[in-house]
Symmetry: C2
Subunit: 360 residues, 2 copies
DNA sequence: AGAAACGAGTAAATCGATTTTTCTCGGTTG
DNA sequence: CAACCGAGAAAAATCGATTTACTCGTTTCT
């Protein structure tokens, strides 16, 4: 049972050394597993460590090396399942290698992002996993480049000439969504998105549009994109539905029969706008959203969604990062991880629905 | 424009000192704002800092002090909105005071919780915000006590004899839920919960039961509690509904007319069980859940929920923690922050619903 | 005038570990 | 018998900032 100092200051390597009757250097060697130590002395050191409850101070230990055993992670936010899972994954992988993960949220601000990065640079982190607010061309990536930091970009990126990137294959997933919707007979689809500048949103939109037009050249695709905030998007969406003549009961001539949201918040906004109008899925309108969430399969109806492979993204990001930390050279890689599209009840065929604006 | 060393090793305080033609001690004093420095020298120091792009190494800076400017935060998980917001808040408050927040997730395991805590102790963090997996009597709190660590307990706690605690006033909120449900005429209510050992779950259950029985002594309250995992709860819940004679169409004699979930996951489980049976809220059954989530107000129907005051909890936790760090003495305080109860559409009156098991 | 006080600054110790260099001692070799 | 070798361990340097203790001048007070 090792409890000596209790709330006093903790034992240092010198305390261990003097108790074992050797020098601090020897203790260090024993802990590092160097073999040129007499077994007898090694045993005395182990005993002393045990008795004093000694543990290495990671701060002091890191002092001398240029790269500290710390990994920084910068996420746009912590509130969503996606980034929550991402941090959890990253944390456990960093831990496995004896690194400490320090996570910070940029709160969707590029200025803050750069600030955090500068602070992490101050800490001389070994590497950074950056999920940029917009895309790979922001000031944060530039900062990393300018300061020779080691890092990996994830999520809202496609590829970069300086850093490895890992993200979901948005384009492929969107193409599949397009196939599904077109296949079900939808010919007028509204795409809503948030974050006009996000690399992923662009890829999702293009992937969807290309495939949809290819499969059904007569399809009409409307787009409502907002820059950053959710409220402008809500306003624009409301406007879109108000200005169109969808509520005049002319049947399905003008009103979209399906909505594809490129972002989780967009799905929420679309849903709440449907509610405001008394529209139900899938009878009045179909809905698919990028990004899955736990609640989507328990609501009525269950919401169809594109599931991002969080584990894979985190795994490959960390693998790439540690490879670079260990000195791997070579051109940056750009990885795209395949998504799963879960077609749930919120998607139906336009033929089945009344597509009227009157609930019940 | 300060970019000299680029990817080389960064400037240290000695580099600044030699460039300014003073000693390192003087540089340190200038940065600390000590007034006994000749303005001329101070200026030279500032210039050198500017030119070299010098920034203090927080690691080295912390080396000498017993308590480092690091705050540890341990949450049961990162995936939920609640803890996500909590971490975001804690982070920004730590930052404001020039501290770095290191967040870790115990993944609902007490063993991991203690491990993380030990690692944070190694880092000699100035303080810890611990959201324990179960309650204030776990091994983690004991570890903190035994090692004289400074800390605050939040969320799944009531009060403690060694640490300040801050949590939502679960009992009061549950009492309000009881008032609402009883007021609407419900006389047979099912309470579902997860985490039998969590301090908060107990408080929520007791608060609800006491008030409900007080207002309507004839009320029947059934309880389905599962220990830790969500799957056993789902099984128990299914069992509960199967064994009862609720599906036999005997009207509202035996079937509960409302469900109160004590935990977010419980709300999801309840909802999915309703779906499986084709029950709709609020016509077939009413639902209120502890813990709010963004999606709850956009689904159809919107789910009634108890909103925890995350900001207040985080704020008071940090205030208490920093007070202790700065040496405040005195007995530990136990704070209960008031919740808001949002009665949304998922709650109705039993008189209005068919309470039949057949949907549509 | 001499002592005390003060202003401005520096060298050196310190924090706790790691790493390089140096030293010691027993044994071997020429 | 001196030179050499090598295992094992101690001493010292290092990492970068802070802090203590101390050194000069200069001014002020008695």
């Amino acid at each position: 049972m090792a409890h000596r100092q209790d709330q006093q200051r903790r034992a240092s390597i010198h305390d261990v050394a003097s108790r074992a009757g050797v020098s601090a250097a020897t203790v260090s060697k024993v802990m590092a597993g160097v073999t040129t130590v007499k077994p007898e002395n090694a045993q005395r050191v182990f005993d002393a460590i045990e008795q004093l409850g000694y543990r290495v101070d990671p701060l002091a230990s890191d002092m001398r090396r240029a790269k500290r055993r710390i990994i920084g992670a910068i996420m746009p936010e912590f509130e969503s399942e996606f980034f929550g899972q991402m941090v959890t994954q990253l944390e456990s992988m960093a831990e496995q290698r004896g690194y400490t993960l320090v996570a910070a949220s940029s709160r969707e601000s590029e200025a803050r992002e750069t600030e955090i990065l500068a602070r992490m640079h101050d800490w001389r982190v070994a590497g950074v996993v950056l999920a940029p607010v917009r895309n790979e061309h922001g000031p944060a990536a530039a900062f990393m480049k300018a300061n020779g930091m080691t890092g990996v970009l994830i999520d809202r990126v496609l590829c970069d000439d300086a850093f490895d990137t890992v993200s979901a294959d948005s384009a492929a997933a969107s193409a599949e969504v397009a196939r599904e919707l077109i296949g079900k007979g939808h010919r007028h689809i509204l795409v809503v998105g948030l974050g006009e500048q996000a690399a992923t949103v662009r890829a999702r939109l293009d992937g969807f549009r290309t495939t949809a037009l290819h499969l059904a050249p007569d399809v009409r695709i409307d787009v409502v994109l907002a820059e950053t905030d959710v409220e402008p998007l809500r306003a624009q969406l409301r406007d879109y539905f108000d200005k169109g003549e969808f509520d005049r009961g002319e049947g399905r001539g003008k009103r979209p029969t399906a909505v594809y949201s490129l972002f989780l918040k967009g799905t929420l906004v679309a849903l709440s706008e449907f509610r405001r109008r008394g529209w139900h899925c899938p009878n009045d309108i179909s809905l698919v959203g990028f990004d899955d969430a736990e609640w989507m399969q328990v609501t009525w109806p269950a919401i169809a969604a594109v599931v991002q492979p969080v584990r894979q993204i985190a795994g490959h990001a960390m693998a790439a990062l540690f490879a670079r930390i260990e000195g791997e050279e070579g051109p940056p890689t750009a990885r795209l991880e395949p998504c799963k599209v879960l077609m749930r009840e919120s998607v139906g065929s336009p033929a089945n629905g009344p597509h009227s604006a009157n609930p019940r």
